[in-house]
């Protein structure tokens, strides 16, 4: 939903970043307002995942230029956990397995950290169990997964559901979902996309990083961006995704060549 007067949640300006001294992002500009759904597409290696990790504060990535303001404040002044508590959520492309750490306990600690920042009361073990069981319905997840270690032995689809469950519990302001659709069969994709749709509101926004039109059939984007060579090369509406499905990315090389980048 595009409302020009809606709150500017994320303002990315000329962002440059590198990993292991290799420049990856080379001037990303993107503004995300409340209520909007943005899709970021592009080939492998174009910088999509790097963008998501930078926004979440991954320590292996270094910002070398530009700025990101989250609700007016410098995002980079915040530790990863502070960003999460203030409502920035990254749905991982490859959710991490943590043997020995109970999923339920992890979810409770995370939920309470966010609630505390929002001025809400922390939930004790019993209250949290009721709370999480409600949220499980959003992703039609089996409660048995709460008893297991975080993501350990989960299938690809179960891991992605667990990500959306975390999103449901943390009630983020801005969600960056990094290839949440990868590795999902059609049914799982519908469930996960349905979860994201249920969780979106006029006050929140999401950035969907994806390779496929398929996800965008389920979650309608307001904007579609194509990333290449570390920046956003083209922006359009949902029709751009449909067009990409037909024409692929060959035009990207031509445009980069014209600009003398490639």
């Amino acid at each position: 939903m595009i409302r020009p007067d809606a709150e500017l949640l994320l303002d990315i300006s000329d962002l440059h970043a590198s990993v292991e001294d290799q420049p990856i992002l080379k001037g990303v500009n993107l503004q995300v307002r409340a209520g909007e759904v943005h899709a970021v597409m592009g080939r492998n290696g174009s910088g999509k995942s790097t963008l998501s990790k930078i926004l979440a504060g991954h320590p292996s990535y270094r910002v070398t230029g530009g700025s990101v303001r989250y609700r007016g404040d410098d995002l980079f002044a915040l530790e990863p956990e502070e960003r999460a508590r203030l409502g920035v959520f990254l749905g991982f492309q490859y959710p991490v397995e943590i043997p020995g750490v109970s999923n339920l306990e992890f979810l409770r600690v995370a939920t309470n950290a966010r609630r505390d920042t929002q001025g809400q009361e922390e939930l004790d073990t019993f209250e949290f169990e009721d709370h999480v069981r409600e949220k499980l319905k959003v992703v039609q997840m089996d409660p048995a997964f709460l008893e297991r270690s975080v993501n350990q032995g989960f299938s690809g689809g179960e891991k992605k559901r667990n990500e959306i469950l975390q999103m449901a519990l943390l009630e983020p302001v801005i969600s960056i979902l990094d290839e949440t659709d990868s590795g999902l069969d059609i049914d799982a994709l519908r469930i996960v996309a349905g979860g994201v749709n249920q969780l979106s509101s006029p006050d929140t926004a999401s950035i969907l990083i994806t390779h496929y039109q398929r996800l965008l059939d389920e979650i309608t984007p307001d904007y579609v961006h194509v990333m290449a060579a570390g920046r956003i090369l083209r922006t359009g509406g949902r029709e751009l995704a449909v067009e990409l499905e037909q024409i692929g990315y060959d035009w990207v090389d031509e445009q980069l060549a014209t600009e003398g980048v490639a």
């Binding site: 956990e81 991982f92 943590i98 992890f106 600690v109």
Partner: protein, 398 residues
């Protein structure tokens, strides 16, 4: 009276200690040991008695025996059905037998115990019995305790040994020497936990000798934390093979602590099995040592043994030495071993932090996750100790 049986043992121990002298670094088993600390602990005066106020109350259906004090551990205690003390004649016959068979009757830590222990808790177990707790009371100075357990054919027991030695740093030094001999008859089962939790200037030398008859099952779980100087030596002998041995250990060290675990398993017959996991977490400038010997002589065909040593280093100055020592002569066997040394995984830390969990809390969660596969295997009576101030949670941040 038990003391009469021990008198000649004590005398022999003292003579042997004198003959042996202190171990030196030229001896392989002591190569990495801080011998100054060994000497300091051995020369502490003998004192008995301990403050028991922080101990948890005894769980229902469990019998607690306290050793290391001047009183008789069985005084005023009603032993569970199936458990009885050994007569002096039986004790005379059995004492030292398993140590001998395991080849460790004359090793230094055992001789130290011989020289100092004044009492032995000796029990016979028949049938399936209710859980036992043996608490090794620790006061100031050097305390030596000794236990002998005979599990008859088909006997079953859950045993938790606790050494609560949480003290403040200013407290006088404490040292504990402990020897336990266990004989498992055919088809007997022992689930044996050792929870040794210390802080301050504390030392521990604990030696276990376990003899297993065929089709018996011995499950040993040790969780040791906070000893400034410690050495745990479980030695298991499968006398005719065909038995099951599981060893799970966790050693947590911080500050300038040194803790060594020397395990030895010997199969003297065919078709025995061993499943061993030894974990260590070393923080600050601490030093954790693991030596895992497995002997599979020719008679031990079709042995199935696996040993894994996993080590977590929490500081760049911490040190871990892990050494598997496999001696395999039989040709039709499966013996797997491995050792890993790692740090806390950055991607796991980041995942937790990206969900709002503070960095230190994330590290604490990961540490707990690392320790739980050993801690959770302690016998069922362990949780009340883990929750008490006498022991505390061993997986808490270092």
């Amino acid at each position: 009276m038990v003391n009469t049986v021990l008198a000649p043992v004590q005398k022999r121990g003292q003579a042997n200690l004198e003959k042996l002298g202190l171990p030196t670094r030229r001896q392989e088993a002591w190569r990495l040991t801080d011998l100054k600390r060994l000497k300091a602990m051995a020369s502490l005066p003998h004192v008995a008695g301990a403050d028991q106020s922080s101990w948890p109350s005894v769980d229902q259906g469990v019998t607690r025996l306290v050793i290391g004090t001047d009183s008789d551990p069985l005084e005023g205690i009603q032993l569970p059905e199936g458990v009885s003390p050994l007569s002096e004649a039986e004790l005379e016959q059995a004492l030292g037998h398993t140590l001998d068979r395991c080849g460790c009757a004359e090793v230094w830590p055992v001789e130290l115990n011989h020289a100092h222990s004044r009492r032995v808790l000796a029990l016979r177990v028949r049938g399936s019995v209710a859980p036992l707790e043996i608490v090794l009371a620790a006061g100031d100075g050097l305390i030596a305790t000794r236990v002998l357990l005979l599990l008859e054919e088909k006997a079953e027991l859950d045993l938790l040994q606790v050494i609560p030695a949480e003290r403040d740093n200013a407290a006088a030094p404490l040292a504990h020497s402990h020897v336990i001999e266990v004989h498992l008859g055919q088809e007997a089962r022992l689930r044996h936990g050792l929870l040794a939790s210390a802080s301050g200037d504390t030392s521990l030398l604990a030696h276990l000798a376990v003899e297993q008859e065929p089709r018996s099952s011995y499950d040993f779980v040790s969780v040791c934390r906070g000893w400034r100087f410690g050495r745990l030596e479980p030695q298991v002998l499968q006398v005719d093979g065909q038995a099951t041995t599981r060893l799970n250990g966790l050693a947590m060290t911080g500050g300038d602590e040194q803790f060594a675990t020397h395990t030895g398993v010997c199969f003297q017959g065919p078709e025995g099995s061993l499943d061993q996991l030894q974990k260590a977490v070393a923080a600050d400038r601490s030093h954790s040592i693991f030596n895992g010997a497995i002997q599979v002589p020719r008679a031990a065909q079709r042995t199935d043994a696996s040993q894994l040593s996993r080590n977590l280093l929490l500081s760049s100055q911490a040190r871990v030495d892990a050494k598997p020592e496999l001696e395999i002569v039989a040709d039709d066997v499966r013996c797997a071993h491995g050792a890993t040394v790692s740090q806390l995984q950055q991607d796991q830390l980041f995942y937790l932090r990206s969900r709002g969990v503070a960095a230190d809390e994330a590290a604490a969660l990961l540490l707990k996750g690392y320790c739980c596969d050993v801690v959770d295997r302690l016998p069922s009576v362990a949780p009340s100790w883990l929750a008490s101030s006498a022991v505390k949670d061993p997986a808490r941040p270092l």
